[in-house]
């Protein structure tokens, strides 16, 4: 516990230093000209925070940083505050050219390489949760690393796997995918059930699923998977799982 406490203090200190150091890097700040009649400047990055300042059209402002859909801005008089993206849509460059401050869209999704998904459902009749990350190799093919956990009353199982995903129609709104994978399955038996032992076996799986773009960075994802666990016993264990969840792309 003492080691943990020290580690905690160290982590906390490191966190503060690294982030405060990179908090304001000048080359990241962009200057633009306001084209809307006025900008409402909030004290924080949410509509719930009060408006404390208004910036007029044609004023030059600096965009310092962005959090979700809010920009931290500063004007020539050094007033700093948060403005919603919707008020900056018509913003101009200093040469009076229109720039598009757009939200993320389906086009960004189609160009993404990396996504992380969290899905949950049933494995046989036990609750299952999976955390996975996939990386696109081409427009249609991607690789995925996943960690699944099945938690039963008498035992629990962890499956660590890698798989190859083929998405034949990535442009479709409801896009199907197929995958094959392999991994390691660990079964932990609760100590109160003493007759069985913990085991580690190789596993393989095939699955079909659907991905659907929802909004901004979000996808809906559902998956039906057949798992084969190569046991040292005579018979392999075969289980079908289904899961539903969402994915975030970067």
């Amino acid at each position: 516990m003492i080691i943990l406490m020290r580690l905690f203090t160290l982590l906390a200190t490191l966190l503060i230093f690294t982030i405060s150091y990179s908090a304001y890097a000048d080359n990241l700040i962009q200057e633009v000209k306001v084209a809307d009649p006025f900008l409402e400047v909030h004290t924080g990055p949410s509509a719930g925070y009060p408006i404390f300042y208004v910036i007029k059209r044609d004023e030059t402002i600096s965009l310092i940083k962005k959090r979700t859909n809010w920009y931290l801005i500063k004007n020539a008089k050094e007033f700093e505050g948060w403005v919603h993206r919707s008020q900056l849509v018509k913003t101009l460059t200093l040469e009076d050219e229109q720039i598009a401050i757009k939200d993320l869209s389906r086009e960004d999704y189609l160009e993404n390489d990396l996504d992380i998904s969290m899905i949950g459902g049933n494995f046989g009749n036990l609750p299952m949760m999976t955390l996975s990350g996939s990386f696109a190799l081409t427009k249609n093919i991607s690789t995925e690393v996943s960690f699944a956990q099945i938690l039963g009353n008498f035992s629990s199982r962890r499956i660590l796997g890698v798989s190859l995903i083929q998405q034949p129609f990535p442009d479709w709104k409801l896009s199907p995918y197929f995958s094959i994978g392999t991994g390691v399955s660990q079964l932990f038996v609760k100590p109160t059930i003493s007759k069985l032992k913990d085991t580690t076996d190789f596993a393989a799986n095939v699955s079909v699923g659907l991905k659907m773009y929802l909004t901004r960075r979000f996808l809906l994802r559902t998956d039906i998977k057949k798992h084969i666990i190569f046991q040292s016993k005579d018979k392999n264990e075969e289980v079908i799982s289904w899961q539903v969840g969402f994915a975030v792309f970067f």
Partner: protein, 224 residues
């Protein structure tokens, strides 16, 4: 004599006329297609103005929040014990965020164990680790006034999620729910107070029961 003199004179006149016609047409042609003048292609003054472009992708995006926290976890039957952990949140919009947590604690002695003097768990089984994924909702964003003139942005949020608790020798499916208060000391730095209930099934005393484990933590977070 007069005839050959006339002949010479006439031919001279003809030649002059022909030559003048040829020359004028040549000059006209030259005027119509003037030869390229070198000086025109070279700019004498180079204006020293570089266009200021706006690179929106360069703007620092701070949608992630990393937290370290410590506090008390009251484990049902096993007393209240110190808990220490870390969280990583991704803010989807100004209202909703997803958060993953990982924390460690250690169970104390239960009343049953104290009375009987026989421990029901081994030291390794007393170690508790939990991890979960939750969804949070910023219910009450606003300002908190410390004094008349000093205010900080703050938010009260609700959070619920699912995860695993490794305790008493096995994995336990765990639901967590609760709420918290986030006080932004700076644009990138926040203080947290969280109260959560971790609900899981436990069978240490030979019958399955649902344990409600209340946790109060203080955290320090940074946006990046």
């Amino acid at each position: 004599m007069a005839s050959w003199l006339r002949c010479i004179l006439l031919s001279t006149v003809h030649l002059t006329v022909i030559l003048s016609v040829v020359f004028t047409s040549a000059i006209n042609a030259a005027e119509e297609n003037p030869a390229p003048i070198k000086a025109q292609s070279e700019q004498l003054i180079q204006p020293e103005i570089s266009r200021r472009t706006v690179e929106l992708s360069n703007i620092d995006t701070e949608d992630f929040e990393a937290t370290v926290f410590t506090g008390l976890l009251s484990l049902e039957d096993f007393g209240a014990n110190a808990v220490i952990g870390a969280r990583l949140a991704y803010h989807i919009n100004s209202d909703i965020f997803i958060e993953g947590s990982l924390a460690k604690s250690k169970a104390g002695l239960s009343s049953y164990e104290r009375v009987n003097g026989i421990p029901s768990l081994t030291p390794a089984q007393r170690e508790l680790t939990y991890y979960d994924v939750s969804i949070g909702y910023n219910l009450l964003p606003g300002e908190s006034f410390l004094t008349r003139n000093t205010s900080f942005n703050s938010s009260v949020y609700l959070i619920a999620g699912i995860g695993n608790t490794i305790f008493a020798g096995s994995d336990r499916l765990t639901l967590n729910m609760g709420g918290g208060f986030r006080l932004l000391a700076a644009d990138w730095l926040a203080l947290h107070i969280d109260v959560r209930n971790h609900i899981f099934k436990i069978d240490t005393f030979l019958e399955d029961k649902t344990a409600n484990n209340l946790e109060v933590t203080f955290g320090l977070s940074a946006f990046f």
